[in-house]
């Protein structure tokens, strides 16, 4: 959706602690499909950064390729961003973070970008406990290349119409727990009440913070049991062998209390079951996180909330013992040993 955004700011709009308006955290107008879950997540990121009173230029946004990976254009317009190549966001972020430990790294990826081509880098960035927020905008499909199944298909356990996905879905939350991630959470794009605090917590976590956010794709998440109007679209697309008809949809929002379960109806009429962790959930117990996850899965429910956090998390800089000042701030005098040292080195090779 493209339209002109008003630049004018009302003087009575709230500012945060450091004097920024919320608009200072916004980005360009989104060009995603109307109603795309990814846009809701962008909104939550804006809200979280605003509430945390982070200077926007102290954030670096990094992404791969996909609809989801485009979103960094649509938030934090004052931050540097890097829309890299497909599946390689983690390595770019790793290098960037090692160069400057003082920025906040916000990595955005899709389920295709992470669970397929990017799987290796995902696993290893977890292993290194890189200090970053890693958000997967998980829609169970490849949006940008027009709807192929991804390796996380099908989060609703209902098989897709037409091509039935024959393979087990990869649960990125279970996977990152197994790999020892120090912060593991899941949420739903339309659940602002849950999502915004989770993003804030993730940003504050000193280490790798993983956020799997279910984010329905309006256009290609064409599940069974869809409504009449969806049928019409599908029929038309099937008959004409084109996929050029995107229904304009509303963002799906949901609000449900902690400890409860809710059923969310997606754009096409199919539903998923979300279960929110109870308020007394102890997120420092990794084994019970595992167990709960498995139990929910067995019930066909998707557990949301902060499943696990390691309060002792040491980020990669601590693990590899770099100096406290950012490496990119070191100057020639700090770095270059000079000619005399070289004379000695030469001597050692004689």
């Amino acid at each position: 959706m493209t339209f002109i955004k008003p630049k004018f700011r009302h003087p009575l709009l709230p500012k945060n602690k450091i004097g920024y308006y919320k608009a200072d955290y916004e980005g360009a107008i989104s060009t995603l499909c109307a109603g795309c879950g990814h846009d809701s997540i962008s909104g939550a990121i804006v809200q979280a950064c605003f509430e945390l009173s982070i200077e926007p230029h102290k954030i670096a946004k990094v992404s791969g390729i996909g609809c989801s990976s485009k979103t960094p254009t649509y938030f934090l317009g004052k931050s540097h961003g890097f829309n890299s190549v497909h599946g390689r966001m983690p390595s770019i972020t790793t290098g960037a973070n090692m160069a400057n430990r003082d920025l906040i790294y916000l990595g955005v990826s899709g389920d295709g970008d992470t669970a397929s081509i990017g799987m290796g880098q995902f696993v290893h960035v977890i292993r290194r406990n890189l200090n970053m927020v890693y958000i997967v905008m998980n829609n169970g499909c490849y949006g940008l290349t027009k709807g192929q199944d991804s390796a996380t298909a099908d989060f609703g356990s209902i098989s897709k119409a037409g091509s039935i996905n024959p393979f087990e879905a990869i649960d990125l939350v279970g996977l990152s727990l197994e790999l020892g991630a120090t912060f593991v959470a899941r949420s739903f794009s339309g659940d602002k009440t849950q999502l915004v605090p989770l993003i804030k917590a993730a940003i504050s976590h000193p280490g790798f913070a993983f956020l799997d956010v279910l984010s329905p794709c309006v256009t290609f998440n064409n599940n069974k049991g869809s409504t009449k109007s969806y049928d019409f679209v599908r029929d038309h697309m099937e008959a004409t062998a084109t996929i050029d008809l995107v229904p304009e949809e509303e963002e799906i929002t949901v609000a449900y209390p902690e400890g409860s379960t809710t059923s969310v109806s997606l754009h096409d009429g199919s539903t998923i079951q979300l279960q929110k962790l109870a308020p007394d959930w102890n997120p420092t117990d990794r084994r019970s996180a595992f167990n709960n996850l498995q139990s929910a899965k067995a019930k066909g429910e998707i557990l949301t909330g902060l499943l696990y956090i390691n309060p002792e998390s040491q980020d990669m800089h601590e693990l590899v013992e770099t100096v406290p000042s950012p490496l990119n701030s070191l100057q020639e005098k700090d770095l270059c040993p000079g000619p005399e040292a070289l004379d000695k080195i030469n001597d050692s090779f004689r």
Partner: protein
Amino acid sequence: MHQVSIVNDMVIRFANVNGTGSASANNMFSKAIFRMGIPVSPKNIFPSNIQGLPTWYEVRINENGYLGRRDGIDLLVGVNAQTQARDIQDVKPGGYFVYDSTKKLHQEYIRDDIHYLGIPMMELSMQHFDHPRQQQLFKNVIYVGALAALINIDLEVLKQIIREQFGKKEKLIPPNFKSLELGYQYVLDHYEYPLNIHLERRDKIGDKIMIEGNMATGLGAIYAGATVAAWYPITPSTSVVKGFETYAKKLRIDPETGKKKYAILQAEDELAAIGMVIGATWNGARSFTATSGPGVSLMSEFIGLAYFAEIPVVLVNVQRGGPSTGMPTRTQQPDILSSAYASHGDTKHILLFPSTPAECFEMTADAFDLADRLQTPIIVMSDLDLGMNSHLSPPLVWDEKRTYDRGKVLNADDLDQIEKYGRYLDVDDDGICYRTIPGTHPTKGSFFTRGTSRDEYAKYTEDGAVYVRIVDRILKKWETAKKYVPTPEMYQEQNSSTDGILFFGTTTYAALEAMDLLKQQGINLDAIRIKALPFNQHVVDFVKAHKRVFVIEQNRDGQFRSLLVNELEIPPAQLVPVLNYDGMPITADAIMQKILSNLPEPANHKSKVL
């Protein structure tokens, strides 16, 4: 079989089994010759395996400084039973075969045109050492002792090397001394010594050092201020980052806190390694990676990103033999085209071609300046021979007045002065634009880096005209680069022949020797050594000035020649390929033969009288 003395001019080869500790003994041997003031050049010919397979160590000693590989073995120390038959064949007539006479030599191995010198190495070792592992290890030192007597190496020089090496592990010194003496004494007792081929002290080393190219490359990165090294192990590049680490540990640890002013990231693969480099340089650190052919192939998508998004990258390609996994422990220069044009789409990359460890050091440091200046990948094209073998090299030099060229980077003050910042605006008309580092300024200078087409303000666009503008501007940068990259080396004041010879990297050693060999036959060639792509005017002039130019390189397809033709629009017929691609460094003799076979009218090539 009586021969005249040959002093300080020989090739000695050691035939060993890997994993038996011969490497350290062999190194000691070369170092001693170096310390005797005699130019020497050892080459390891090792298998892609850890233990139990044949490995050779070939040492060329030449007081005139010809240190390329030469065919014909004058003396072979054969301590590997598996290869003895072949090893004996490789000794040149009149040469020597030194072997472990603990076991009797096969009768059928006896040639009547070479000398056999048996030393009961294992027997001596077993007499003096108890533990099998020590017996095996010191057997090697025993043959070094024997050689010392046979070809006249100063024992004291060897001992001094041992003292220095084991300074901190003193208990290892006496058994090493003992072993040396065992071998030495055995020769004294049993043979006439020294042999007709032998050494005499000289002073032909000057201030030179003996160092592996990869170590010098690692040091170059230290001096250039690299702080983030990301890599994935692969022979023959692994020791580049090891070199970096060795000196980082010595020179880059904060003395008070013990914390590191560098980060070395062993990535999960080569794709991740170069991704980390791109992330780090994007974020304002100097960063590099080192790999070999397979790694470059894997990196190619990312190389294209760096080219198109204009991100500085320093990539060291220590080339090895063959396509695919090929001959991973042999040397070639086979990645010229795949490095120059790495990645899909219209791309071309700046290449540097060091030919000595000193140049590995210098060009690696240059690579960081060039990468920052030109905002593009710079590929340092080393090879296994240069990287993993010790070479006699000019000392590493760091000019006191040298400062880092960080290129066009805007700081917060600069940004305050600018009305509207455009990341890809060609303000200076040299094709190079101004970049900003994340976090620099609260409101100005931020932009979106991307591998997709975008306009001068880094805004995504699918407008074809804008795309053309941007890629044409990147091509302008290529022109600008010609001013910055190292200029070729010429080997004559003025051209004096109709024919020229052109080379780069490790072909240099043999090429220069071949030129001298040809000169002795009255054939004079003008020569040029190329140090970088893009080629600049000097290269054009050189080629234009000659009817025919011999292009010497170590690959099957004449890739460098293709590059010359393609970049300089040279008629291919003007360039005569001189190729070698068997995995061993090219020899002067091979070059000479090839050139001679192409010179039907030798008269033309005599030096003109000016």
